[in-house]
């Protein structure tokens, strides 16, 4: 009697699990799967064998099938979104771990959500732009430019918040320049190369003109950081130039 009760309960849970299959698959095979599960439970009950282990194994086995069928039926676009969402989640692990290890790093839940949205946006931008051209240098250039844009926006925000100098927001001009340039270039490699070179020049100009107001030690580190940023922006420009030449060939 107890086994019958357990069998009925497991079948009910199994039918709920089957709802996770894609609709078309469920409509076609759901009833048959539930019947088969019921048959297997009855077979074990008649043989006076325990159901728990069998039910657990079948649930896991079916869950694997559910994942496979859902993945198979996903469109390429859905797969891209899922991939970017998981990638952003993986990237979020870095600040999550750092906040546990670094003293004075106190992010609230909202900050993590904000950073996740930023990671996701950058990832989606890369997925959308990089697919427009198959040349490797274009894809690397897009990735590097987006990372630079993200880093620049983030570091400027943190710097202004820490120092209390709102003039630091002038660095956002470089990002605006990038967005306008990319739009005018319609994401073509040649136009993007010019845009990145212009961004590198603007960045260098701002770094030289804008007084940091920082103590000498910090000012030296900032100068090194600015130098690295200019080199990376120029490298992105060169990658796009390489891609434009490959496009011509």
């Amino acid at each position: 009697m107890d086994t019958d009760d357990a069998g009925g309960r497991y079948r009910s849970w199994y039918e709920r699990l089957l709802r996770l299959y894609p609709r078309s698959f469920r409509e076609h095979f759901g009833e048959g799967m539930a019947q088969t599960f019921h048959d297997l439970c009855r077979e074990r009950s008649n043989a006076n064998r325990r159901l728990l282990g069998f039910a657990l194994w079948t649930f896991v086995e079916t869950l694997v099938g559910i994942i496979r069928e859902n993945t198979t039926q996903m469109s390429q676009w859905s797969k891209t979104i899922l991939g970017v969402a998981l990638g952003a989640l993986a990237a979020l692990m870095a600040p999550l771990v750092a906040s546990r290890l670094v003293e004075g790093w106190h992010w609230n839940a909202g900050s993590f959500v904000f950073v996740y949205v930023l990671f996701f946006a950058v990832g989606m931008a890369f997925a959308l732009i990089a697919r427009t051209m198959k040349v490797w240098s274009y894809k690397v250039g897009v990735g590097l430019s987006l990372l630079m844009g993200f880093g620049l926006a983030w570091s400027t925000m943190v710097h202004v918040a820490d120092s209390g100098h709102p003039e630091g927001f002038v660095y956002y001009a470089v990002i605006v320049e990038g967005i306008v340039g990319a739009s005018l270039a319609r994401l073509r490699a040649r136009g993007l190369a010019y845009t990145l070179f212009a961004m590198a020049a603007t960045y260098a100009l701002i770094a030289v003109i804008l007084p940091s107001g920082a103590p000498p030690d910090l000012a030296r580190d900032m100068a090194i950081g600015h130098g690295v940023a200019v080199v990376l922006l120029t490298t992105s420009g060169l990658l796009f130039r390489h891609a434009s030449l490959a496009e011509v060939k």
Binding site: F25, H28, F29, E31, G32, M33, Q35, T36, F37, D39, L40, W57, T58, E61, T62, L63, V64, G65, I66, R68, E69
Partner: protein
């Protein structure tokens, strides 16, 4: 699809084709037949079985038969599956592939044992 360009079948597909080669069966019947054919070595869960059935139907290897009651079990109506002509051809081709492999293996083993005999 010609016999030449047919890719080897997965173990699950081969066993399902074998189970359906003699008669139409429902899901549980296929499972039991696969277990018997493999002497208990192959045990498919419903997820693997129906996932394979779905792909095999898509490939035209099997198709659904009429829904009916299995007199030996209960009064529930069940969907039965049967081989199509394409499924029979795929099974024949796969079995021929196994025979070819066996022939090569046996010839090689015989040659090897003769060489060792010298």
């Amino acid at each position: 699809m010609t016999k030449k360009d047919r890719a080897p079948l997965t173990p699950a597909v081969l066993h399902i084709l074998l189970a359906l080669s003699t008669r139409e069966r429902h899901g549980y019947g296929i499972m039991k037949q696969v277990e018997a054919d493999s002497r208990g070595k192959v045990k498919m869960g419903p997820g693997t079985l129906y996932g394979s059935i779905g792909r095999m139907m898509g490939a035209g290897l099997i198709r659904e038969s009429a829904k009916r009651v299995d007199q030996e079990m209960d009064d529930e109506r069940r969907i039965y599956y049967k081989l199509t002509g394409e499924g029979q051809a795929a099974l024949a081709a796969e079995l021929q592939r196994y025979r070819d492999v066996m022939a090569v293996s046996e010839a090689r083993l015989a040659k090897g044992s003769l060489a060792h005999g010298h």
